[in-house]
Symmetry: C2
Subunit: 227 residues, 2 copies
DNA sequence: ATTTTTCGAGCGAGCGCTCGATAGATTTAT
DNA sequence: ATAAATCTATCGAGCGCTCGCTCGAAAAAT
């Protein structure tokens, strides 16, 4: 479904580097990618454990093995580091959700099902990144907070459009609530926000995906088709 | 439905004071409640704006009008203040959700509907408190984090028990997913977590409650009863 | 007169961030 | 081929500042 090679920390850091070529001081790409990867890995690990604010740059330096000064070759402030990570998450969401396979896009039901599965699998592939984004985006400066809210609205819009089309084409109940698109998002988020709980209960990702799909489709489809 | 007088900041602070009589240095109850109320009001206000960690005790002192030393007559550490608030939230959830009216408890469908409405109305009555608990609980020390997780599981259990009974009594589909109870919680949370979004879109609380109730019941009930 | 409550300057620790020093790689000059 | 010059990447002690928290004194209440 998703190619795992596209979501390794290294691959994602390559994408980050490309976007910040001008602000990153290290010129040689192999060196830059290698070090950026260990920095980001460490940053995600520590932040997911105790929060981004609580992670000091000395923590990050020690765990990544890069000196204080060395860190500042890759970002010019702690807030910039935050933004680099959040932007990469938003970028991947856009890249992955924006173009469904042709045969899927043609049918609202298939499209909705695909969106749910793909979103959950994307968050699974980038678990520390989404955990980070969810945990941190709320507590930060106005501009970062707004960017996070925009990204959220963008995701919601993918669902809203499909539902609207499904209703227009008569595949969904005409009474389908316009609120539904908003309510799908928290269902998808629960998988990575409460990941520990689902791991403890040994819920497989396929089970989770199927449950959410069924939950949503029962709300959309006419009664007879709900089973 | 809920008596607003029970959820004023002052009423809640009275409950907090009772629970921490031994660690609060101020002896006269009227004085203690009055000051605790302004402290908690200020703490919730600042924390909801920029996060509990980012709120310094100097911020809190200035905004509440209570001196640094004065604050420490009400808690012995910043973490204690956090716990006092989280405990009060957990206490109210327990108090309100634990005893449904008799006529409601008798019927699984009515009980489930009641739980959804009551939980959403409770979070609305204590909006800054729940916003605070949601925002902060994740980022904090192990013991606080565990307490928050326990409280969450407790809430989930209310829903799990009703659903189980509904299935046993033949009111709900036998295939009703055991995951459903977990998935209800994020739907309820969205109301206070994304409160700004729903306010902007002018979604009334009654609309939200009805939408969630319909969403959940469609997942539980046999197909013919879904409308 | 004595207890209770309030005050806020001050403490040590830790924060984000800077910057001069330096070791290694690469280019240029001879 | 070798020496000199230049550039790149890395380092970590130290700066100014704010943090959570304390404590002895002042003020208010009894």
């Amino acid at each position: 479904m998703l190619d795992p090679a596209e979501f390794t920390t290294e691959a994602l850091c390559r994408s980050m580097l490309a976007r910040h070529r001008d602000t990153i001081g290290v010129r040689k790409p192999e060196v830059a990618i290698r070090k950026l990867t260990v920095i980001i890995k460490a940053a995600l690990e520590v932040s997911n454990r105790k929060g981004f604010q609580a992670m000091s740059l000395r923590d990050l330096s020690q765990i990544s093995g890069v000196s204080m000064g060395g860190l500042y070759a890759y970002f010019d402030s702690k807030t910039t580091l935050l933004n680099m990570i959040l932007q990469e998450v938003a970028e991947q969401v856009r890249r992955v959700l924006a173009d469904p396979p042709g045969e899927v896009a043609a049918d609202p039901v298939a499209h909705l099902t695909w969106l749910i599965e793909t979103h959950i699998r994307l968050t699974e592939a980038m678990l520390p990144w989404f955990g980070f984004a969810f945990l941190e985006a709320k507590t930060f400066p106005p501009s970062e907070r707004r960017a996070a809210a925009d990204s959220e609205i963008e995701t919601e819009a993918y669902f809203a459009r499909v539902i609207e089309r499904g209703v227009a084409e008569g595949r969904f109940r005409t009474e389908t609530s316009p609120l539904l698109a908003s309510l799908i998002k928290p269902l998808l988020q629960d998988w990575y926000v409460k990941r520990a709980k689902y791991r403890r209960r040994e819920v497989a990702i396929e089970t989770y995906i199927a449950t959410v799909q069924d939950f949503v489709l029962r709300a959309c489809l006419a009664d007879r088709n709900g089973g």
